[in-house]
């Protein structure tokens, strides 16, 4: 029987984590990608209405007493890129309030990297190379797969994710035994996409293989660039292995005006949903105005990667002290 003070992960999990960190550092060292550190505690934070942040009280300066724990190091890293850092990577903690479960701990470890001049498909090549190296000696992986969001949706559901048809989506939900989707999602196309993808598609992706999904609908763009040939989709990629979502990447948006407009939409959305307020990161907008070099960037959740490498079912099995023991 484990005592409360003891770690929830095995000694073997500690060892494999250390090995993974060393492998990542040597991978980027030989590719001349610079390791950086950016603040975990900052005055600004992401505006994504789907991400809830932690705030802290700062004791020193009375006029700026609210500081945020970062939900991702993305903004600070982009400021480094705009300042001329060249390609960079970071291994750091990220914090997301209210996220707790088999695949979530509110504090988790991210690997995030940016490659100057890389297109989305070049980034996908590098993701494959890195994951293949990290899995070597732990788990056998089959040949990597790549599907567009539209193809994988059509293949598994028969639905077109880019064209919302209320009746088709409802028929599908009733046919596959999730009638609750009808009342839950209503006429919200994005909510339907999230529901169907997470309930009926994700678990089928990447059986013992790296599976990358690219070309997300423009409504799910986040910080990705609109595709040059098809304005209905964005240059965004997600990577899955054994149905587990490992990470997310973009051919990065460099247009300051477009970025500012997206932040405004997210802030309005936050107000409508009565979520905690946050101001848009003026430093990031200023950096984009100055000029973010053409680049692609990727973030991978290392705790989930470790779950896969060690065949563990719960994130707690690869963390030494998950929130309940932290």
């Amino acid at each position: 029987m484990l005592k409360e003070w003891q770690p929830t992960c095995s000694k073997e999990a500690l060892r494999i984590r250390a090995q993974v960190l060393a492998d990542i550092r040597s991978f980027f060292l030989v590719r001349d990608v610079l390791e950086v550190e950016t603040p975990l505690l900052g005055h600004g934070c992401g505006t994504d209405p789907q991400l809830d942040f932690f705030t802290t009280e700062y004791g020193c300066s009375p006029e700026e007493d609210r500081l945020f724990l970062q939900t991702s190091p993305e903004f600070a890293m982009k400021r480094l890129l705009a300042s001329g850092s060249g390609s960079i990577y970071q291994i750091c903690k990220a914090f997301r309030n209210g996220e707790s479960g088999r695949f979530h701990n509110p504090e988790f470890t991210l690997l995030e990297w940016y490659r100057l001049g890389f297109t989305l498909s070049e980034l996908m090549d590098e993701i494959e190379e890195l994951l293949t190296i990290l899995f070597k000696g732990h788990k056998h992986l089959c040949y990597p797969q790549r599907f567009s969001y539209e193809d994988i949706f059509l293949r598994h559901t028969g639905l077109n994710p880019l064209r919302f048809s209320y009746t088709d989506y409802c028929d599908y939900a009733l046919r596959v035994g999730t009638p609750d989707a009808v009342t839950l999602c209503g006429y919200d196309h994005n909510l339907w996409l999230d529901f169907i993808f997470s309930h009926h598609i994700q678990s089928l992706l990447g059986q013992n293989a790296i599976c990358m999904i690219y070309g997300y609908p423009a409504s799910q763009s986040s910080l990705a660039r609109i595709n040059r040939r098809n304005s209905e989709i964005v240059d965004r990629v997600e990577v899955f292995i054994n149905g587990i979502e490992l990470g997310n990447g973009y051919y990065e948006l460099t247009d300051a005006q477009e970025q500012s407009a997206r932040f405004d939409r997210e802030i309005t959305c936050r107000q409508e949903r009565k979520l905690p307020t946050v101001v848009k990161d003026k430093h990031l907008i200023a950096a984009l105005e100055e000029g973010l070099p053409e680049c692609s960037g990727m973030a991978i959740g290392l705790d989930r990667l470790l779950m896969l490498l060690t065949s563990n079912e719960k994130i707690d099995d690869v963390l030494n002290f998950p929130l309940s023991r932290a």
Binding site: Q50, G98, E99, F103, L184, S198, H199, N248
Partner: protein
Amino acid sequence: MIKFYIVCHLEDKMASYSTNEFKSGLKVMLDNDPCAIIENEFVKPGKGQAFNRVKIRNLKTGRVIERTFKSGDSLESADVVDVAMQYLYSDGAFRHFMVPDTYEQYQCDEKTVGDASKWLKDQDSCTVTLWNDSPLLVTPANFVELSIVETDPGVRGDTSGGGGKPATLETGAVVRVPLFVQLGEVIKVDTRTGEYISRVKE
């Protein structure tokens, strides 16, 4: 005293639970029926809506269903409590129970008592689940001691317990007992599995 009770009751009625409070065993109202949460899984795409996929047992029908909620949605709490009671008697139409501490009595129809009826002997203790102060479910004690009213004479000397034979108990339940167990003897039974445990020496 009465005033205090009413205040508490009103507060109970208004309570609701958010998806992140859904723990196994929590009693909530869903589709106007009292339900118990069995399992709650947090599902969140990195860049999308967070959901909670919840397994719920309908306490009226016993059926288990799966339902998805948007994280942060909430359900009203169900005023469901488990109360230890003593089974008094059956009047043919209803079975009567009493809370030993307060002498408060409740009556249940056969449908509510359900399967528990075959384990209930007068004066035995059991658990009655109340919803808005009306009986919803009756759960017998995990172990009951009942006498055998009908069984074939066994083979003397057989103590192995292998094979066995059916025996009818005083409450009407039929359980498999070892061959050496005789008519009129009292036996201990696990009501969750319906299995014979041992003879009870009187």
